[in-house]
Amino acid sequence: MVAKEFIEARWKAIICCLLALALVVVSTATYDLFKSVLSGTSSQMPQFLQQQVQQFTSSYSLYVWGNWFAKNGPEIMAALAIVLGSALIAAEVNKGTIFYLLGKPISRERVLLTKYAVSALILFAVTVLSSVVLLVTSALVGYSQPIGGVVISTLLLWLGVLFPLGLALMFSVLFKDALWPLICALTIIILTAIPGFFPNWGAWSLPGYWSSQAAYLGQAFPAKEFIISLIAAVLPLILAIILFRRQEY
């Protein structure tokens, strides 16, 4: 059953992976370029933005972290998680193959957990691969990154995007095709990210917990982030199982 799930998801995984790697390379290879472009135009920017950019470009590590682990990484991995998750059950219902699957002597829990596990594994692989490429390219341009920080940030990112996966899976159980689960999950993720745009509301933004600057720089262990992400990962999965068990086809 596992093999079939991988086969089914192969194109989504491959395309997303390529995109992620491209973004990683951009993040790691463009520091110097970005800095020189910025120094020329910084005087034309509003004050608060200037400060952010200052901080952003003050060091390579912050630049890379800010680009990949804080922004692009979560975005693209969450997108992959939602795309994978929304199709898990809904696509089978849409094509009618759900009847073939459920007609076999296999419990619904096993069906759901196997699908979830394969998607989680795909997310893990893409996240890890991206981090490996990050380490390699940053070393190549002469700014070696702290391995410990990268590892912890990778894990945190993966754990964080299990929430959109679980969420999309939950909606996938409720709908008959993959589009609505995708829209619902995406909407909710965006909603949880909105507080992050307001200066004092950062603590209410869930995606904010998918990365930790301090952890990346090796200053602290992100215990709070891990716990929150773990709970957020598990809750929608449990709900999905409960809903799937009661679903009638």
Binding site: V2, K4, T97, K104, S107
Partner: protein, 325 residues
């Protein structure tokens, strides 16, 4: 003529496996399944004996597919119960599905997998698996063994679905309108495989269909369902032998009392009169009925018995105007 023999084994004939320990493959008791407030299955009760080919008939929307889905655990019953080989469909669904091979009409299989990949997938989901059996039937049907499932025609997908269903060595095959969309040749091959391979192994076959002719050819038993209720469940041969049309031609116009007396006979299901000719649908002990008819006080010029085939019988039962029997 010997009557009332269901599955029997000719002494010394070892071609058929001995009947299963259980005498009933499926037992349905007062089953109720609702869609919202509507009762798709409304107090259904019947039994499918082991080792038979059982045809489940009914017009569209009568509850056939809902019944099958409930047996397989896709839906929960809202009332009543059912057992497959003794296992309760509501609480022991896994055990039920371990004994069943399921082929449905949409035959949606995973288009992006190749046949070998689909076999491996099915194997991973089944409790036991015999790939040789699957390969053999793939060959019998002439399917291209390495093809992508999405490239197969509808008929071939149905055949493939049957091959896969047989791979887990089920004791019961449940087929939901399996020959829909098959051209006559493919349909013939499909049915032929069912009777000559599957049924001959002693497996029970339960299939729903609205193609009466094919049910008539291969079914031992038939059950007819209408708006969620059972209309009849009988051995097909017995049904044909005990239900006939009897056409009476009276010499003189019979009085109303005579007609009423005829109608009240227990074997008479329905009656239509046109002048001196009366058409009865009779059911049950026809010998007794014939004797009663011959002894009518009102002289008969002619009594003619006409056999009914399944289509005739089906039409008869689908009519609203029955005597309520």
């Amino acid at each position: 003529m010997s009557e009332e023999k269901s599955t029997s084994i000719v002494p010394g004939n070892n071609e058929l496996r001995p009947a299963h320990g259980q005498t009933a493959a499926i037992e349905i008791h007062d089953l109720v399944v609702k869609y919202g407030s509507k009762r798709a299955v409304d107090g259904l009760t019947f039994t499918v004996p082991t080792g038979t080919i059982f045809g489940f008939l009914g017009p569209n929307g009568s509850g056939k597919t809902t019944t099958i889905k409930t047996l397989l655990g896709f839906r929960q019953p809202d009332g009543g119960s059912a057992r497959v080989f003794g296992y309760d469909i509501a609480n022991q669904s896994l055990q039920v599905r371990a004994r069943i091979g399921y082929v449905n009409e949409t035959n949606s299989l995973y288009d992006y997998l190749t046949i070998p990949q689909l076999c491996a997938f099915s194997r991973s989901l089944s409790r036991e698996w015999n790939q040789q059996v699957v390969d053999r039937y793939i060959e019998v049907f002439g399917l291209p063994p390495r093809e992508k499932v999405g490239h197969l025609s509808k008929g071939m997908k149905s055949q493939l679905a049957l091959c896969l269903a047989l791979g887990s060595n089920p004791d019961l095959l449940i087929l939901d309108e399996p020959t829909t969309g098959l051209d006559p040749l493919a349909r013939h091959e499909f049915l032929n495989t069912l009777v000559s391979e599957v049924a001959a192994e002693g497996k029970t076959i339960f299939f729903s269909s609205h193609i009466l002719s094919e049910v008539e050819a291969v079914a031992d038993w038939v059950a007819i369902i209408r708006v969620g209720k059972l209309v009849l469940c009988e051995e097909l041969d017995h049904l044909k032998q005990t239900q006939k049309v009897i056409k009476l031609t009276y010499i003189d116009l019979p009085p109303v009392s005579e007609i009423e007396r005829l109608r009240s006979l227990p074997e008479v299901m329905s009656l239509a009169q046109e002048g001196r000719s009366v058409r009865l649908i009779a059911h049950g002990d026809l010998d007794t009925l014939m004797q009663t008819l011959q002894a009518r006080p009102y002289a008969l010029r002619e009594v003619e018995t006409v056999d009914l085939n399944l289509e005739d019988l089906f039409m008869e039962y689908m009519k609203e105007s029955n005597n309520g029997r």
